[in-house]
């Protein structure tokens, strides 16, 4: 029975608004739970994360290996020089990751090595056609070009 003095329209409007707020909360809460759980699951499997460089992210094996390689290479190269990432496939995203990890250098993609006057090649998996080998580790070589 409707309590005395109640406005049915107001009652309906109020309940609708309350319901809208609850729906929004459940909606966002479900999204948060979904994404949080998915990210946690992926993070636990990060060592086995395998993807093209377009999907690289921090903490995966590929970027960690690149970080280690470029860290060693930086000890051999004078700050500020131009460095080319040797890569016959001209992988754009690998180049961008290398540039991020070597901010003190002008990091260029292989095809721009000449134009940039690159003094060094850093190679992860291929031997460049020229250059003097300065350092080699599994999956990481540094060559002096000039």
């Amino acid at each position: 029975m409707e309590p005395q003095g109640k406005d049915p329209a107001g009652l309906l409007g109020g309940r609708l608004r309350q319901a809208a707020a609850i729906v929004l909360l459940l909606w966002a809460g479900a999204a948060f739970a979904w994404e949080g759980w998915a990210a946690l699951t992926d993070w636990r499997r990060r060592g086995r994360f395998a993807a093209t460089s377009f999907y690289w992210r921090f903490e995966v094996a590929e970027t960690m290996a690149l970080e280690r390689c470029l860290g060693r290479a930086a000890q051999l190269m004078p700050v500020g020089c131009a460095v080319a990432v040797y890569d016959p496939t001209q992988d754009f995203f690998r180049w961008r990751w290398a540039a991020y990890l070597l901010p003190a250098y002008d990091v260029v993609i292989s095809r721009d090595a000449e134009r940039a006057g690159a003094s060094f090649y850093v190679s992860l998996d291929q031997q460049p056609p020229r250059g003097q080998l300065l350092m080699t580790r599994p999956g990481c070589q540094v060559y002096r070009l000039r």
Partner: protein, 485 residues
Amino acid sequence: MSARTLAAPLLVAALLALAGGGLVRRQPVSLLQRAVLALLAGIVMLQVALGLGDALGLGWSAAFVAAVLAVGAVSPWLLPRSPAARTAPTVAGSTAAPPGWGDALALVAVAVFAAFAASRWVGNPDFVYHWGLKGHRFLLSHGVDFAYLAKPWNWVIHPDYPNLYPGLLAATAVVAGRWDDHGLLLWSPLLLLAITVSLRETLGAEAVPAFRRHAVVASTALGCAAFGIGHKMAGAADWLPCLALVVALPALVRPPDGAGDLRLGLCAALAAGAKIEGLPLAVSLVLVQLVRHARRRQRPGAGAIAALVLPLALVVGPWVWGVGRHGLFQPDNAGSASVRRLVAVVPAIAQAANTGTWHGLPYLLLLIPLLVATAPRLRAFATVALLQLAFYLWTYAASPLDDVGFLVLTSFPRLLLHLVPATIAAAAIAWLAGPEAESVGSGRGATRDGYEGGARTADLDHLADDGDGDLARRVAADRQPDGGA
């Protein structure tokens, strides 16, 4: 990763809020809202100071950054306070509201996002591709390195983009003592916290009843944190224009006045300094406010114009000057829109809005036209939001890139972040507040600046609320942390 580098963003944010506090101390808002506004003002002031340091050849050395932060933080306490500032009202509407379950859920959302950000697992690709790279490079070169930006192969790092965000990262790294992306990525959850706090205070001041306010605050934080985690948004610059629009909302809802002018001026400066897409947002904020002044037959004085435009000019001026002087403007930023492209863009936009990591929340933007039609107080906000959406549409339609669909899919989900939280807040003000809230600022019984009226209607809101309980019970419930009204 160390405690110092993880704490650095928090320390810098506190110093910036102290520095910006002097500028916004006359804003008639709650203490928490003022803290957010002070942080926003502090970020803008830092950018202006870094630009000045660059222009004067001072460089962003540790000493310079420390001096900027220290002088900024101390200056509000050294400057004499005017009697008006001493009596500046603090709005009671939201400060009186006790913390509740919505705040707790929001904090959980921010904390989880922060944990993922500090782990770097949700680091944004653009942080790697340009924002972080520029920040680190500028840190090493003690300023904006125009020679580096101008290298022919560096067109990929958007050399013509504004440098507020890289500057903020560099200043944080100076305080941290070194570049550590674990700590620097924490800026994103910190900004989400500021967004959530501002939104909470706005809803409180706008008489949204406690239960709904908690629900909306929690929903916004949870939804944005979900997107932040799922879409790898730690380190993205998009949190800054998002903050700008959320903080601007109260000024767009209330009748135009001096406090609103300054608030919008600062928000416009932050948006324009953060991203190139923030520039049209900044222009919209300023123009809409000027039109609102004109429609009320108020001729804004020189002070009002300066408050609206000066922060924007101080941020945009050095950026445009630097870009122009070094010839950094990229030709692919300009083009002419075509219908053929527009036809390709529209389905891509729908697909991007449906991005899994957003879980459909961008569909709430479809409420914006409804705001125009049914909520007169929200029309200024709706106009700004629609102009921004129109700008995105035009940008895509004018893009010289061949695969415009790919461009839309890789960028539009991020751009939606600029609008979604503020739109949720606007919709809550329009449709979840009690009917009395509609009279605030509408000219019917509103106070001069309309703001105190908002606080009062917060207390009166129960009178015409949902009607599902007796008045006394609902008034009592609204005083409880978990609401119930």
